[in-house]
C-alpha cells in the first residue's frame, strides 16, 4: 500500500518496536507490583501474562482497522461515523492521549520530588521538563522516534540489571502456593495490569507514519512481548524480594528494591536511576503529546506548533494545580477506568463495525 505522507516524514517499520516499547514502559514500571497484587496476591504474575495476551489481540485488531482505512483513527472516525459523532470520538481521542501524557508527567515529577529534591517546587521542575518536551515534539515524529530508540536502549543496559542485585535476599517461598487465588481475583488483577500497557494505542495515530505499515505488525508484537517480559521479570524479582505484607506498604517497589544494590562510591543507586528514568519518560510523554497534537491538527486544522504550545501551557498549569499525592492517585484511578473501557470495549467495537461496513460496501 502506498503511504499518504511524504517519504521524508516516515520511519521504517523496524522502529515500531521502539515506539511500542517506550510507549508501554513508562512510569508504571516503578509501582505496578503493588497495584496488581492487591487482588491476586503473588499469583499476579499470571495476570501479567493474561493481560499481555489480550493486548496482543488488540494490537492485531488495530492493525486490521487501520489496514482497511490505511490512515489514522481520526480519519476512520470521520469516515465511518460522519462529521458529528466522529468528531465527538475524535475529541475523546485527543483528551485520551493528552491526559495519559499528563499523568505520566505529573507522576514523574512526584517521584523526583519524593526521592531526590523534596524542596524543589513543581513549577520549576515542570518548566524544565516542558521546555525539553517542546524541543523534542516540535522536532517532528522522526525525532521522537529517535528518542524512543535511545529510550529503549539506555534504560535496558543500565536500569534493568540493577534489579538483579535484590536476588541476594530472594525468598522463593513467597511465590508459593501457586494458583491460590480465584479466577475472578486474577481477572481483576489483570484489569489493574492493563493500565500498565496503556499507551500502545498511540499506534492509532502514528500508523500512517510507518513505511510499509503492513510489514510493521511483527515489530509491534515483538515490542509488546519485550515489554511484557520486562514486566514479568521485574514483578517476579519483586515478589521474591518483598514479602507480600511489605510490598503492600511500598509505594515504588522497583526503586526500593534497587536500594539494596551497593557499589563503592555510589551509596544510593536509585538516585541515579530516577535521573536516568527521564530518558524513558521523555519519549513516552512526547509520543503521546505528539499524538494528541496531531489529532488536534486533523480535527480543527490548527498548526501543530501552536497547539503543542497551548497543550504544554495547560500541562504546566494542571501539573501545578495537582498538589497532593491523593489527587494524582484519583486522576490515575479515573483514567484507568476510562482506559479500560476504551481498550477493551471501544477497540473491539470499532473493529467489528468497520469489518461489517467493509463487507457490506464490498
Amino acid at each position: 500500500m502506498k503511504s499518504l505522507l511524504d517519504e521524508r516524514h516516515l520511519v521504517s517499520s523496524f522502529y515500531v518496536f521502539f515506539l511500542i516499547f517506550t510507549n508501554i514502559i513508562g512510569i508504571g514500571i516503578m509501582s505496578f507490583q503493588r497495584d496488581i497484587t492487591k487482588d491476586a496476591g503473588y499469583d499476579a504474575w499470571i495476570s501479567i501474562i493474561l493481560s499481555s495476551i489480550s493486548i496482543h489481540i488488540l494490537v492485531w485488531m488495530i492493525y486490521r482497522i487501520l489496514g482497511i482505512a490505511n490512515n489514522d483513527v481520526i480519519h476512520v472516525h470521520k469516515f465511518y461515523f460522519g462529521k458529528w459523532i466522529g468528531g465527538l470520538f475524535n475529541i475523546f481521542v485527543i483528551f485520551y492521549f493528552l491526559i495519559l501524557a499528563l499523568i505520566v508527567f505529573r507522576v514523574y515529577i512526584e517521584v523526583v520530588q519524593v526521592w531526590l529534591f523534596p524542596l524543589m517546587k513543581t513549577w520549576q521542575i515542570s518548566l524544565i521538563l516542558l521546555v525539553l518536551i517542546y524541543y523534542v515534539v516540535s522536532g517532528g515524529f522522526r525525532v521522537i522516534t529517535g528518542m524512543c530508540f535511545w529510550g529503549t536502549i539506555i534504560p535496558f543496559i543500565i536500569l534493568f540489571p540493577l534489579n538483579f542485585f535484590s536476588l541476594e535476599f530472594a525468598n522463593f517461598h513467597n511465590l508459593l502456593p501457586v494458583f491460590n487465588h480465584s479466577v475472578k481475583e486474577i481477572v481483576s488483577s489483570s484489569k489493574a495490569m492493563l493500565f500498565q500497557y496503556v499507551g500502545f494505542e498511540t499506534l492509532f495515530m502514528f500508523y500512517p507514519f510507518i513505511k510499509n505499515p503492513d510489514r510493521s505488525q511483527k515489530w509491534a508484537h515483538i515490542g509488546l512481548l519485550f515489554s511484557s517480559l520486562l514486566y514479568l521479570i521485574i514483578a517476579l524479582i519483586t515478589f521474591v524480594f518483598f514479602s507480600e505484607g511489605h510490598l503492600n506498604q511500598t509505594i515504588w517497589p522497583t526503586l526500593t528494591q534497587m536500594k539494596i544494590a551497593k557499589f563503592p562510591l555510589i551509596e544510593r543507586v536509585e538516585f541515579i536511576v530516577v535521573s536516568m528514568w527521564l530518558l524513558l519518560i521523555l519519549p513516552n510523554i512526547s509520543v503521546k503529546i505528539w499524538a494528541g497534537c496531531r489529532a488536534i491538527k486533523k480535527v480543527i486544522n490548527v498548526k501543530q506548533r501552536i497547539s503543542l504550545f497551548i497543550v504544554l501551557v495547560l500541562f504546566f498549569i494542571i501539573a501545578n494545580v495537582l498538589k497532593e499525592r491523593s489527587q494524582i492517585e484519583r486522576l490515575n484511578e479515573m483514567y484507568s477506568n476510562i482506559a479500560f473501557y476504551f481498550v477493551y470495549l471501544y477497540i473491539p467495537f470499532l473493529f467489528l463495525h468497520i469489518h461489517i461496513k467493509h463487507k457490506i460496501t464490498k
Binding site: 520549576q124 535476599f169 525468598n171 502456593p177 514479602s243 505484607g245 526500593t256 539494596i260 551509596e267
Partner: protein, 359 residues
C-alpha cells in the same frame, strides 16, 4: 525569534540552581549509628557522628538527648548540631533491652519511610542500654565499625542474613518472626553474643552464638560459620571445632488433620578445624563413629532449638512460612495457636570432607 529560543533554552540552566536542596558533605552532619533507650519513662537517644580533623583521621563523637517519645529524637539532636543532621549514611540502629521489650517496630517502619534510609542498615539489641555500647564504641575511632561487625559475622560467622529490609519483610509478613543481633560488652569491648528473638517487634529472649549457628543453617543454609562441640569417647572428653563449608536445609510439610508435621532435613559439609589431640582421625572407623556422634548431636540441638522457640512462642525459623507455602487456606492465627504443639522430625547428614592438611 532566535533570541526567544535562546532565552527559553537557557532557562533550565538558570532554573537548575534554585530549589535544589544541596547537601554537600562538609555542610551536613552525618550520623552513623543511633541508639534508643528507655530511661525513667522517657526515651533517650544517642547518636554517633564522625568528625574529620585531618585526612584519614576519624574521631567519633556523641550526641545525646532525651524526649518523651522517639519521634522527635533527631530534631532534638539537630538543635544541638552545627550542621543539619543527615541520616543517609546511618547504618546501625541499636535498642536498649528495656526499650526493645516494649516494641521497636514503630521506630523502624518510620525509618523505612525516608527514602534516604539504606536497605542494608543493621539493627541490634543491646544487653543493657544502647548508651553503654555506643559510648564504648566511641573509642574505636573507626567509622561504621558496628555495622561492619555485624556484616562480617553474617558473611563469615554465625549470624544469619539480616538487615533493615529483611526485618521489615518479616514484620509485615505472617509466618516468620524477627531476629536481631544481640550485643553485649565484654571487657569494655563490644561483642555479638547471639541473636535476640522478637515477636511483633518486641524482645522476647536471646540465644547464644552456638544456637545461632544452628538457626543460620536452618534459615538460609550457609557456607561459613564455626561450631564447637564436646565429644565424649571411651570416657575421655574432648572438643571438636567444626568449620562449616556448606550447609543446607530442606523442609517437607506433611499435612495431617489438625497439626502439620514438618520434616527437617539438615545436611552439613564440614571440615575439622581443631580437635583434641587424643582423637585419632586416621582410621575410617573412627571417622564413622565421629559422624554418628555429630549426627546425634545436631539432631538434638535442632530439636532443642525448635522446642525452645516453641516455648517462647516465637517462630524465628519461619516454620509458619513453610506451612503457608504448602497450604491453600492459610490462617495465621490458627497456626500460632497450634505452633507450640507443632511436631518436627529432624534428620541430619553430617559429612566430614577433610581434616585440613594433616590428620
Amino acid at each position: 525569534m532566535k533570541l526567544c529560543f535562546l532565552s527559553i533554552f537557557s532557562l533550565p540552566f538558570f532554573l537548575s540552581g534554585c530549589g535544589i536542596h544541596e547537601r554537600i558533605i562538609d555542610d551536613v552532619q552525618i550520623i552513623e549509628a543511633l541508639g534508643y533507650d528507655r530511661e525513667e519513662g522517657k526515651v533517650k537517644g544517642i547518636a554517633i557522628y564522625p568528625t574529620f580533623a585531618e585526612q584519614g583521621n576519624v574521631k567519633l563523637k556523641i550526641y545525646k538527648t532525651v524526649s518523651d517519645s522517639y519521634e522527635d529524637i533527631l530534631p532534638r539532636m539537630n538543635a544541638k548540631s552545627a550542621y543539619p543532621i543527615e541520616t543517609g549514611k546511618l547504618d546501625f540502629v541499636l535498642f536498649g533491652k528495656e526499650y526493645a521489650t516494649q516494641g521497636i517496630e514503630d521506630v523502624i517502619t518510620n525509618f523505612a519511610r525516608n527514602p534516604n534510609t539504606g536497605s542494608r542498615m543493621q539493627l541490634g539489641i543491646a544487653e543493657n542500654t544502647a548508651e553503654d555500647i555506643l559510648q564504648s564504641s566511641k573509642h574505636v575511632n573507626l567509622s561504621f565499625h558496628l555495622s561492619e561487625k555485624i556484616n562480617q559475622n553474617i558473611e563469615s560467622g554465625n549470624l544469619p542474613k539480616m538487615n533493615l529490609h529483611m526485618f521489615l519483610n518479616n514484620s509485615y509478613q505472617e509466618g516468620r518472626d524477627q531476629i536481631l543481633p544481640y550485643l553485649i560488652l565484654e571487657e569494655g569491648q563490644i561483642k555479638i553474643d547471639g541473636l535476640a528473638l522478637l515477636k511483633n517487634g518486641k524482645y522476647i529472649n536471646h540465644i547464644n552464638l552456638r544456637k545461632s549457628f544452628i538457626l543460620k543453617t536452618l534459615i538460609d543454609g550457609s557456607h561459613n560459620g564455626q561450631y564447637k562441640t564436646k565429644i565424649t569417647q571411651n570416657k575421655k572428653e574432648g572438643f571438636i571445632l567444626l568449620k562449616n563449608l556448606n550447609a543446607k536445609t530442606t523442609y517437607t510439610v506433611e499435612k495431617s488433620e489438625g497439626i502439620p508435621r514438618i520434616f527437617i532435613d539438615l545436611t552439613i559439609h564440614a571440615e575439622i578445624e581443631k580437635a583434641s589431640s587424643w582423637f585419632d582421625l586416621k582410621k575410617d572407623k573412627d571417622i564413622v563413629k565421629l559422624k554418628r556422634i555429630l549426627n546425634e548431636h545436631f539432631k538434638e540441638e535442632v530439636q532443642s532449638l525448635i522446642s525452645l522457640a516453641q516455648g517462647y512462642n516465637v517462630d524465628p525459623i519461619g516454620l509458619g512460612e513453610k506451612v503457608r507455602a504448602t497450604s491453600r487456606n492459610w490462617d495465621y492465627q490458627r497456626f500460632m495457636d497450634i505452633y507450640p504443639e507443632l511436631k518436627t522430625t529432624v534428620h541430619t547428614n553430617v559429612y566430614i570432607l577433610n581434616t585440613g592438611i594433616e590428620e
